[in-house]
Structures are given as structure tokens and as C-alpha cells.
Symmetry: C2
Subunit: 282 residues, 2 copies
């Protein structure tokens, strides 16, 4: 569980680092990115988790997410895990598709073969990585955590938070998959990782979790209206309806003209970081 | 000279576009990136040019430069050209080195063979591309232009501005090559593109131009102290000395801990955009 430093760069009055470690959870090496604002007085800083979307590694948001200025301003640590196990022996989509397997762990603990041994991103994100961050980044204050994510990672943020109600003070998402039980990306992933018993899928479906009584502390969602995945895969309206029906507090904003890319994410990133910081520092 | 649209993405309340055109100057297709803030009242917006460094295309700053929020806030158009001609038949470094040839045009008009036919980035940046921007982006106001750049592009920004004293109201640079006549990158590029007559090189050396009487309207430079190219290639102190000796107004800031990467550039980008905007809108 020793951390290997892959890179550190001074940026925006803090340090952007990339680290690798052997994961007991996935049985592979795992890499993650973490931005730590300067903290000369040694105060414990709150942590904002960011889960990335299909095909991404830790690097996409690190390079294109434009979060560092806001995190430095608010004194928030930003952690970006990878999206799947990787490496020799890790099975991938048999057809090499980009929406399943490598880069597409969907933040589940797989129970079906051949995925069960490595594809355990739920436990990795919920248990192993938080322990590591707490151990090796002394500024981290794990009583003040927020979580966000994009697309598949928005699904991850919502479902991790809904299943661990005491862990997060704030939850947000950019263009999340809100109901994987009812979209092609989700049906492919959940049927492969978990098998055909749809009851087992519900723990990984934000709308189903909300309907089942799970709640979020607060929720901010931005969704581009020009997002080409909106209608078939993301289905933002299902989340709005589930929140409405359950009395779940939520701010869900449709953004005219914006697509699914980091040009969209980076536009609203500083606002999300500020929104989290307000709740994390309250 | 028709522009072909390669992509447009809504971002930060404006449009990030990438366009391609046949260049009469370089004899090749050329691509560039341009961010145009929303401009509902149709006012003419000032233009900030950004010249990129070795190995870059228009895409590096577009993805990692974090300029859009500041440009939208200040109402400034941001143009990022490519760093060399590219395509079939364009000669490259015979050894495939990354510091010469493709991605390394050094913003000169080559006079030596086999470079002279295509490597005309000086004329491209000074004449052809500004005409295109003025023609196809009606918001552009070419009486209010600023210029910046990074490393080789910082050299480009300084020398283009020093040779065209009435064109720019503001000049800045991130980690510029300030004296290519006196560093390995510059000596290799200038001797190949221009031949061995060092007198011809002086038009492409910021320190030589300043010593020869050329002046900038104003100058802001940021340079990381942990930049691994500082001592051998960039030699910031030569620019400070040249400005001091010539009475050239300049703010040259050494930034502790920062390296040569976009983690450094993005940290100070918003401040540079604001600094340019103040002068462009005065």
C-alpha cells in the first residue's frame, strides 16, 4: 500500500500530484490524481471526490477540468480516481467497445465472471482509496467530504453518496447517467458485471435508490441541452421526477447549448467547487 | 481562403472553435483555435493572440490553458495558431528531433532550403491569419490586439510585437525564449531556417531587437524558478538586463516552485488575460 509518486507539479498555489499504488481491492496497480492546496498552517482540509466518465483515466479532469483555481481559493483537496482496473490479465470488453470493461468500471463491485476478481470500483472508491488518502495526505479531513462526477462518474457520485448517507455533506454531478437500469450503457454494464438478476442492479441506480428511500444531503446537477447522450443514455428528467416524488432537495439545471465535453464541465466546475466548499466548511 | 469548421463547443459563455484553411503563406492546410465570447450587442471585441511552444498545436492551450473564463469575463477573443506548417511534403528535422521542424516553426520566415517554401510562420502570424480573423469573425477589432505566448511562443510574441510596434497594445509571455541567438534551441532553429549569417538572426531575437531600439508598449513575463529549461534555454535574466539597459518598461516575475508545463501557464493565465484586457479596453 505504499504510494509511488508518478508526478507532482506546482499549480494555482498548490500541488497537483499523480500517485500509483497496488490495490488489494482490484488486484491491480491503480493511479489517481490529487490536488492539495498550500496549507501552511496545517489545518485539515475538506476533500472533494470527482469520479470520471467512460474512457477516462485520472488525467482527463486533471488536464481539462479547470478545478485548481477554485480548490485553492476555497482550500479544498480534489481527488480523481481512475475509472477501472487496468493492466495485464484484466479482462476487457470482448469486442473492444469503449462503453464497457477498461475505462468503464461503472463504480460497481462485479459479481459475475470474468469481472468479479478485478472490477471492484465500488469498494475501491468507498473504502480503499479513502483510507489511503487519509493516511498519506495529513491535511485531509474525512469528516468533511463532497463528491461529484461526470456521466458514468456522475452515476458513481450519486450512487456512492446514496449508499453511504453519513459520508458526504455535498453531492453534485455533471451530465450524470441517472438511471442505468433504463439506458443502454447501464443495461450492458450491469448485466455483465452483476448478471441478469435486475434486483441486484438497484444498488447501482440513483433513481431506484431514491425511490427506495435513500437520500442525499443536497444535490446540484448541470446538464447540457445539446448533449448528444441526453435522450438515450442520461435521461435527466428521470432524476428530476424521482427527486420530486421523494421530496429530495435538488437543483437540476439544464444548460442551453452545452454538450457532453470538458468544455461544458470546465464551464461550471468553479461553481460546483464553490457550492461544495460552502457546505464542507459550514 | 474559405474556413472549414473542424469543431465548435459552447464553453464559458462563448464558443470555442477550431478551423482549418489553405494557407497561401505556408502552402499547406493550417488549423487554429479561436474562442469568441458571446457578444449579443455585436460590439467589436479586442483580440488576444497566443503563440504556443515547441511540439504544440493549437490544441494544447485550448485544452489546458484555462483562458476561457477570463476571456468571457473581459470580452476578449483568444486566437491560438499552430506552431508550424504540417502535411505531406513538409520537411521535418532529419533526426526527428522535437525541437526543430514540425511543431517548431519558431515564428520565422525561413530563407534556407529545404525550409523556405513552407516554414513561413512569421508572415502567417503577422499577415495572413490576422486578415482571416478580421474577415470571418466580425466581432474582432484589429485596432485592439494583444499578444502572448509560451516558451518558443513567448519568443514569437516578443519578436512579432517588437517588429510591429503599432499593432499591439499589450505583450506578455510565459517562460519565453528571450535570446534565441544565445541558446541551443534558438541556434539550431535560426542556423537551419536562416543560414549561418548571424546578422539575419537578429530580427528574431527579442534581446537583440530591444538593444537595436525596438520597443514594446508594455510587457508582463512570468517565469517558473523550477523550470528545467531556465538556465540553458530561456535565460530570463538576459531579457531583464536588456529592458533595464534600454529603459523598456517591463514586469518580469520569477515564480518559485513552478515548472515549464501548462500547470504553470494555467496558474497565471487569468491574470495575464486581465492584464491585457485592461490595456485593450483602455
Amino acid at each position: 500500500m505504499t504510494l509511488e509518486t508518478l508526478s507532482t507539479n506546482r499549480s494555482h498555489g498548490g500541488t497537483q500530484g499523480v500517485y500509483r499504488h497496488k490495490s488489494a481491492t482490484t488486484g491491480t496497480d491503480m493511479s489517481f490524481a490529487i490536488f492539495v492546496p498550500d496549507n501552511p498552517e496545517g489545518a485539515k482540509l475538506p476533500v472533494l471526490w470527482y469520479l470520471s466518465g467512460l474512457t477516462c483515466t485520472h488525467a482527463n479532469v486533471m488536464e481539462k477540468g479547470e478545478y485548481r483555481a477554485a480548490c485553492a481559493q476555497h482550500g479544498v483537496i480534489f481527488v480523481a480516481p481512475d475509472t477501472s482496473p487496468r493492466g495485464e490479465g484484466v479482462p476487457d470488453d470482448p469486442d473492444g467497445a469503449w462503453d464497457f470493461g477498461l475505462g468503464a468500471g461503472f463504480y460497481v463491485d462485479a459479481t459475475a465472471e470474468p469481472w468479479a476478481a478485478n472490477y471492484r470500483m465500488r469498494s475501491y472508491v468507498e473504502d480503499e482509496l479513502p483510507s489511503l488518502i487519509l493516511r498519506d495526505f495529513p491535511a485531509a479531513d474525512m469528516t468533511r467530504q463532497g463528491i461529484s462526477g461526470h456521466s458514468m462518474g456522475g452515476h458513481g457520485a450519486l450512487t456512492v453518496a446514496l449508499r453511504t448517507p453519513d459520508r458526504f455533506r455535498s453531492v453534485s454531478a455533471f451530465a450524470p447517467i441517472v438511471a442505468p437500469m433504463h439506458c443502454p450503457w447501464g443495461e450492458k454494464a450491469l448485466s455483465n458485471y452483476l448478471g441478469e438478476d435486475r434486483e441486484a442492479w438497484a444498488a447501482y441506480d440513483a433513481c431506484a435508490l431514491i425511490a427506495g428511500g435513500a437520500r442525499l444531503p443536497d444535490l446540484l446537477v448541470d446538464q447540457g441541452e445539446a448533449d448528444s447522450f441526453l435522450e438515450e443514455q442520461l435521461k435527466t428528467h428521470l432524476l428530476a421526477e424521482a427527486c420530486e416524488k421523494a421530496g429530495q432537495k435538488a437543483t437540476i439545471r439544464m444548460q442551453p447549448g452545452y454538450d457532453h465535453s470538458y468544455y461544458f464541465i470546465s464551464t461550471f466546475m468553479a461553481e460546483h467547487v464553490g457550492w461544495h466548499a460552502e457546505r464542507l466548511k459550514a
